[in-house]
């Protein structure tokens, strides 16, 4: 399914990755701006972020307000995307749902970046037994198909938003560990690191001043792509009843209840799926573009 589209095992970070130390954000924006695909992705992502922020003001109805006179209505002028089985306005539910999906995707990936980069950097920088231990544990996590691992975690923790984010977070940790480790390995032996060390810099200074800033390009790319995967997986788990619970306007949850009315009102199932696809498409295009802009040789 939907799950790791990245290929962490064959991660290679080319040594020509442009250094991104000064004016990091400005440089990224400049390079992304020159790439058509990533610009489209950026627009889609920005649009959804705006929708998420502005949901209370732009939604025509309350997403949870039921209206028994207007059950399962097809799209019309007063309800542009129709109504669901409780007469709730689909458009408003989609708007509010973007808050949930973006939050799960982004928070989940932040969790994996924090843990994955920490572990990968430690493994790559210090090497030896610590590296062997970290990478072995990573291997074990990778022995589970990612989606099943997330499923196992939520099944134990119980359904709910927080647990969903934790599960989604844990299942992406191994790929960040792999990619940051290989990035660190390619930087570690560079002369400027040696120079810094010979001047008596502490490990912490070398790691935070040199290693992490110089290995950040692949991490940015992988994070963007992983938000896409995380949103897909989270909606899949919610679809299975393991994530957000009704009446929450989570897109996967909406799809799973909409299924029961597939014949009578197919729009209830179609609309949330299109929303998921669009936002995931946005992050995928942005991630692809970022990779092409930052480091075309990177195989994420």
């Amino acid at each position: 399914m939907s799950e790791p589209k990245a290929v962490p095992i064959s991660v290679q970070v080319s040594s020509e990755a442009a250094p991104l130390r000064s004016g990091l954000l400005r440089q990224i924006l400049k390079r992304v701006g020159s790439n058509k695909r990533s610009m489209i992705g950026l627009w889609i992502v920005t649009l959804f972020i705006l929708i998420a922020i502005l949901a209370p003001w732009i939604s025509p109805y309350d997403p949870l307000e039921q209206n028994m006179d207007k059950l399962l209505q097809s799209p019309s002028l007063s309800h542009p995307l129709g109504t669901d089985e409780y007469g709730r306005d689909m458009l408003s539910r989609i708007f509010y749902g973007s808050r949930i999906s973006l939050m799960v995707g982004i928070v989940g990936v932040v969790i994996s970046v924090v843990f994955g980069v920490a572990l990968g950097t430690i493994a790559g920088y210090f090497g030896g037994r610590i590296e062997a231990l970290i990478m072995r544990i990573t291997d074990i996590f990778m022995a589970f198909p990612g989606f099943l691992l997330a499923l196992a975690i939520v099944s134990v923790l119980g359904p709910g938003m927080m647990n969903l984010m934790i599960a989604i977070g844990i299942f992406s940790v191994p790929s960040f560990t792999w990619i940051s480790r290989s990035a660190v390995l390619s930087i570690k032996s560079k002369e400027y690191i040696e120079a810094s060390r010979s001047m008596g810099a502490k490990h912490s200074r070398i790691i935070f001043k040199h290693i992490i800033p110089n290995s950040i390009a692949p991490i940015i790319v992988l994070s963007t792509l992983r938000v896409a995967t995380a949103i897909l997986s989270a909606s899949g788990l919610s679809f299975l009843g393991m994530g957000a619970q009704p009446p929450s306007p989570e897109w996967g949850t909406m799809l799973s209840t909409g299924r029961e009315f597939l014949r009578a009102a197919p729009h209830i199932s179609i609309v949330p799926g299109v929303a998921i696809m669009l936002v995931v498409l946005g992050f995928n295009m942005l991630g692809d573009g970022l990779r092409d802009a930052l480091d075309p040789k990177m195989k994420v």
């Binding site: 399914m1 939907s2 799950e3 790791p4 589209k5 290929v7 095992i9 064959s10 072995r136 544990i137 291997d139 074990i140 996590f141 022995a143 589970f144 198909p145 990612g146 989606f147 099943l148 499923l151 196992a152 975690i153 099944s155 134990v156 923790l157 119980g158 896409a228 897909l232 909606s235 899949g236 679809f239 299975l240 009843g241 393991m242 996967g252 799809l255 799973s256 299924r259 597939l262 014949r263 197919p266 199932s269 179609i270 949330p272 799926g273 998921i276 696809m277 995931v280 498409l281 995928n284 295009m285 692809d288």
Partner: protein, 310 residues
């Protein structure tokens, strides 16, 4: 090659131990006492204690873990709390359906993925290249369960030629395999395209072209063969994704497979079945990865020798 196989087999051991540890830990994290869960609300403390002794949960944790591994070595994945049948038996009853589904989906992946990748790579920058890559971008971004629902809508309701659910006949597998295979096909298409593009400008390809060798023969004999290692890698990894995706696909199409069994077990809080199934899938996944590794050691001898064991 024999040494390489032996080495890879030995490398599996720590991974498998880790996998068993992880699945053991998963069950420990479940809130509450499993014995009380099984005994039910109105059981007396003595009854609960009897069940606890039967389960062995009155022993210290490390003892339980050792016991758990000994059971696993005997092929005992525990007893389903829901049906009282051995979990392994319940898994094996359903696994064939999942295997058929996964194999068919792999077929879809390979056929559509390679085809799309090749037609994209042979004319880079053309309309068909853009179309193929747009297809793969959408394929990667589409939720499988949504695609499943859309296909049910079209092929079971609007043009009723295929069943919307079940798993007893071959026709039940067509839509699920298509749905499950599409996103992996999309991944494979991109990889095939970039792998072919990497070799397409090499001298030997130009020589073949200059000799007048037909294009499809060049693609098949030279370009695709050299792109084989990354392609096998992705197919191997995608099989894992397919096994994970089977959970969703089987649920959408109400198929009696391992994936839906896992979901049902979670819903019934039958944790020993969940634990057993997840361990089973991880075990299968480890074996598949081993086979993939052996496959490319066979395709590309450098992999065997590079690692200094020959």
């Amino acid at each position: 090659m024999f040494n390489y196989i032996l080495k890879r087999l030995l490398q599996m051991v720590p991974t498998l131990i880790g996998v068993s540890l992880l699945s053991f830990v998963i069950l420990q994290l479940v809130p509450g006492d499993p014995a009380e869960l099984i005994a039910g609300m109105d059981a007396s403390p003595e009854e609960v204690q009897i069940i606890r002794e039967r389960l062995g949960t009155d022993q210290p944790l490390y003892e339980q873990y050792v016991q758990y591994n000994l059971q696993l070595l005997k092929g005992d994945l525990g007893t389903s709390m829901r049906s009282d049948n051995p979990v392994l038996q319940e898994i094996l009853e359903r696994f064939p359906n999942t295997v058929i589904l996964t194999l068919l989906a792999t077929l879809v992946t390979v056929v559509i993925g390679l085809f799309t990748g090749v037609i994209a790579a042979t004319k880079p920058g053309s309309a068909r290249d853009h179309a193929s890559m747009a297809f793969s971008l959408f394929g990667i971004s589409m939720p499988v369960f949504w695609l499943g629902i859309i296909l049910i809508l079209v092929f079971a309701y609007y043009i009723p030629i295929l069943p919307s659910g079940g798993s007893s006949e071959f026709k039940h597998f067509i839509l699920p395999a298509l749905v499950l295979g599409i996103s992996s096909a999309a991944v494979l298409a991109r990889l095939t395209r970039s792998s072919i593009l990497e070799v397409i400008n090499q001298d030997y390809i130009r020589t073949a072209k200059a000799k007048g060798v037909r294009e499809w023969l060049i693609i098949y004999k030279h370009a695709l063969k050299n792109a084989f290692v990354p392609i096998i890698t992705v197919i191997g990894m995608e099989i894992g994704n397919l096994l994970g995706g089977a959970v969703l696909t089987e649920t959408v199409f109400s198929m009696n497979g391992l994936g839906r069994y896992i979901i049902q077990s979670i819903q019934f809080r039958d944790y020993s079945a969940v634990q057993g199934s997840i361990l089973f899938v991880a075990f299968i996944f480890v074996i598949i990865n081993l086979l993939v590794d052996l496959c490319y050691a066979a395709v590309d001898p450098r992999i065997r020798y590079d690692r200094k064991e020959a």
